[in-house]
């Protein structure tokens, strides 16, 4: 079942770091929507926020739609170091 070996850490850690970014993205989006729905803001600031919101929405949607589940297994090397191997699951 194990296939292509990949280095634990780099790519994997980046992939894992994407999820918190999505959480941040959604939090900021909620904030933008709240600000826009509140009354006290001039039109220029509102437009700038709107543009930021649209950018973030597109990024969030892309992150959500492009994802494909990654399944790995961890192997312990003779020296005690860990190696991640992708699984065909």
């Amino acid at each position: 079942m194990p296939k292509r070996p990949s280095t634990a850490g780099t790519a994997a850690a980046e992939a894992a770091a994407e999820a918190p970014t999505l959480a941040d993205e959604l939090r900021r989006l909620e904030e933008i929507v709240r600000l826009l729905e509140a009354d006290d803001m001039d039109l220029d600031a509102a437009l700038a926020l709107f543009e930021e919101g649209v950018r973030r929405l597109q990024r969030a949607r892309h992150t959500l739609e492009a994802a494909e589940l990654k399944v790995q297994t961890v192997l312990e090397e003779a020296g005690g170091s860990l190696r991640l191997v992708d699984l065909d699951a």
């Binding site: 999820a19 918190p20 803001m41 039109l43 709107f50 929405l57």
Partner: protein
């Protein structure tokens, strides 16, 4: 001094039988909680009320036992027969006192009819009590699961149904995740040590923010590794939040009590571990709509404000014009009052010379001067005599 036992005044120092039995009952019940008692069943009797009565005994002693209907029923529902005469059993029981009969007896809630089951149950209770005393089950220890799990370590058998379920549910719900299988055996003699090792390994994985540990359903003894003291301690030590999924919904392991979250099954563990992408997308759509709505509203507000400003300006202009008109009218009235023509209306006349100058003094009127007299309705020519 002789003591009269029938002296009524001695009542102050004696107690009744009821008081005695009640006092003894309170002592017994205050001293003992539920405990496991090992013995042989004799004089078993199931009453039509559903309650069971029997005696537990060993070589030298015996104690009366009752098992109330609720517990007797539960025993039957678990697929076990009422204990046959002479069976050796483990009974989970609370010592108590039947006051009416002055009889010491055990109130039994659980019966284990085999030595192996009894031993396992004893070990389970021992470890449970130990970990509980150490606070490993405390609600305050429970950590919240990440909102969007990125890396999920799954400590289980690489060939088990549990792993397949976790993977398929995660793929369907949240393919943004990465699953790292930490393989271990989950039953048999070596299982506890292997699970401990696998759990320790989880902390060394990068980008993992959640750990699922468990296995699919099996016989009670197959789940024993998840009641192992060392396994429970290793699970408590994992640095990321943990979900335990051992067996079926009805199986509660000690790992379930130690983990931050208990899942009924491995599939349920995956459901608890990750968000649902469809739901999050729906939330994103909702925010898109609100974003657009917010801007539209904002623009409309600006337009309305502009309109209100224009209205106010028009109002100001109208006011100005009105004030000007009033001023003009007032000035006109004053001018009118000052006009000489107004005086002529009252019967005065105004003489003017040929050059139009007003003649005001005697010296302005030499003899035979022809001049003009203006009266209220026109001019009259006149001559000085």
């Amino acid at each position: 001094m002789s003591l009269s036992l029938f002296d009524p005044t001695i009542d102050l120092g004696a107690i009744t039988v009821s008081q005695l039995n009640q006092a003894v009952r309170e002592v017994i019940e205050g001293e003992f909680g539920p405990l496991w008692v090992h013995g042989e069943v004799t004089s078993f009797k199931a009453y039509s009320s559903g309650h069971w009565y029997f005696t537990l005994r060993d070589e030298s002693s015996q104690v009366r036992c009752c098992m109330w209907r609720t517990y007797a029923q539960r025993h039957r529902e678990a697929g076990q027969q009422p204990p046959a005469e002479g069976t050796r059993v483990f009974a989970l029981a609370t010592p108590g006192m039947w006051e009416e009969k002055g009889e010491f007896r055990l109130s039994v809630t659980k019966l284990m009819a085999t030595q192996a089951m009894g031993d396992a149950a004893l070990a389970f209770e021992r470890v449970k009590r130990l970990l509980q005393a150490e606070g490993l089950f405390d609600v305050a220890r429970k950590r919240p699961l990440p909102e969007f799990a990125g890396g999920i370590a799954v400590v289980t058998s690489p060939d088990g149904a549990a792993l397949r379920d976790v993977i398929s549910v995660t793929r369907a719900r949240w393919p943004l995740a990465r699953i790292v299988v930490v393989p271990t055996s989950v039953q048999g003699e070596r299982a506890p040590a292997e699970i401990v090792r696998a759990l320790a390994l989880v902390d060394r994985l990068e980008g993992v923010d959640l750990c699922i540990v468990g296995r699919g359903g099996g016989a009670r003894e197959d789940l024993a590794a998840f009641n192992d003291e060392a396994v429970c301690r290793a699970l408590a030590a994992v640095r990321v939040p943990t979900i335990s999924a051992v067996g079926h919904e009805t199986d509660v392991s000690l790992c379930d009590l130690v983990a931050d979250v208990r899942a009924a099954t491995p599939s349920n563990a995956a459901e608890l571990a990750v968000a649902d992408r469809a739901e999050v997308l729906h939330r994103v759509d909702g925010m898109a709509a609100r974003l657009a709505g917010g801007l539209t509203r904002r623009t409309r507000l600006a337009a309305e404000r502009l309109e209100r400003s224009a209205d106010r300006m028009q109002g100001a202009l109208d006011g100005l014009r009105e004030r000007r008109r009033a001023t003009l009218e007032r000035l006109a009235a004053q001018l009118d009052a000052l006009s000489p023509l107004k005086v002529l209306g009252r019967g005065y006349a105004m003489p003017t010379g040929a050059d139009g100058r007003v003649l005001k003094r005697r010296a302005d009127f030499p003899p035979d001067l022809v001049f003009n007299l203006r009266v209220s309705d026109g001019d009259v020519r006149a001559r000085v005599e």
